[in-house]
Symmetry: C2
């Protein structure tokens, strides 16, 4: 049993098993973890993947790093410690969603191997699907959908550190991701299809039951 | 827009709307928030309610205060400040689950009106269903399913504070809960049925679509 700070906690078994949820939803729950630089295409892919899965009746939900910072992680900054805590909480929520029967789609820069490793360990080998959403920094800078690179450059020129991944903070690419998408050479649709193919091949998506 | 500690956060609209999720799942998402003393029957009711909802195809998931303390809230103690933070995070996760299309069933002592009020505000009036799971303290003490009252009595007799709700920490009962269940006079099945009736009457559960 994992270590907790508070004592006197008793674990209540949820009566509905994971297997039962898988049968009810036609979906073997898992976490699709999209990692990559700002501007690499994570959010766009996440939202399209969610759409596709739901359109076929598979419960799916995007956990977006930025969105979560408006709610659950509102108390966290971009310091190294707070980034780790941010990723820890996102991992825990993704685990809850997968316990609930969902495919949780995480869209999060998550620059450090160590933090992604922690999430992988939390979820287990079959249920953690790491997807490296890869585009050269130069391309991400050109896209700059949120204007963050421009902002970071200006701040750094003025002598103010930004802790922006790829600019003045490191990005550690995954060494053995389950999927590696090159968004400078593949369309969004192709990338989403690659993820769907992976999910089918690894039996995370089950064919609909025949009418009885 | 809510205040966040970190700057440079852009909100990504999830493309699948709440209304679309409601149609896909046949369920208008909401949060059933069970509050009451330790031993009042919250967890038992929560688990049975989850079972019943899933058996009829409505996505549901129990967020149990104790279980969450093994994961997301592992860093929190039972101090007043940490209890508030615990409830804040549970509220945020319940909101995420309802955004995802679920009926989130929260089972949490949540002794303070103020904290429950915060959760209510976060979820909105139609989507927060406060259920007061009520049994006299004397009955809860007799049941003592986790042996916590006994433990608290012994600790307090030895001069050590326990911050146990109903013993040496207060419980503020809801003044206007959506439902008030008397578990010393009603069976578990009757309590669960009352919640299901409420959900039907308030159109949180939609009848299955006719085959086309």
């Amino acid at each position: 049993m994992m270590q907790t700070k508070a004592e006197n906690i008793v674990w209540h078994a949820a009566k509905v098993t994971r297997q039962q949820r898988t049968e009810i939803f036609g979906t073997a729950p898992c976490v699709v973890w999209l990692t990559g630089l700002s501007g690499c295409g994570k959010s766009t892919i996440a939202v399209k993947l969610e759409q596709q899965l739901l359109a076929h009746g598979h419960p799916a939900y995007v956990l977006d790093g930025d969105n979560l910072r408006h709610g659950l992680n509102r108390d966290l900054s971009f310091s190294a410690a707070d980034r780790s805590e941010n990723i820890r909480r996102v991992g825990e929520v993704a685990k809850l969603l997968s316990d609930a029967g969902f495919i949780a789609i995480v869209s999060l820069i998550s620059p450090y191997k160590k933090d992604r490793g922690t999430a992988r360990q939390l979820l287990g080998p079959e249920e953690f699907i790491e997807v490296f959403v890869d585009a050269p920094l130069e391309i991400c800078r050109q896209r700059d959908p949120k204007g963050l690179y421009k902002k970071a450059d200006a701040a750094i020129a003025a002598g103010k550190p930004m802790m922006m991944t790829g600019v003045d903070a490191p990005y550690e690419p995954p060494e053995a991701p389950e999927l590696h998408l090159a968004t400078d050479r593949q369309s969004v649709e192709q990338c989403v299809q690659q993820i769907l193919d992976y999910l089918w091949q690894h039996r995370r998506l089950l064919p609909p039951k025949k009418d009885q």
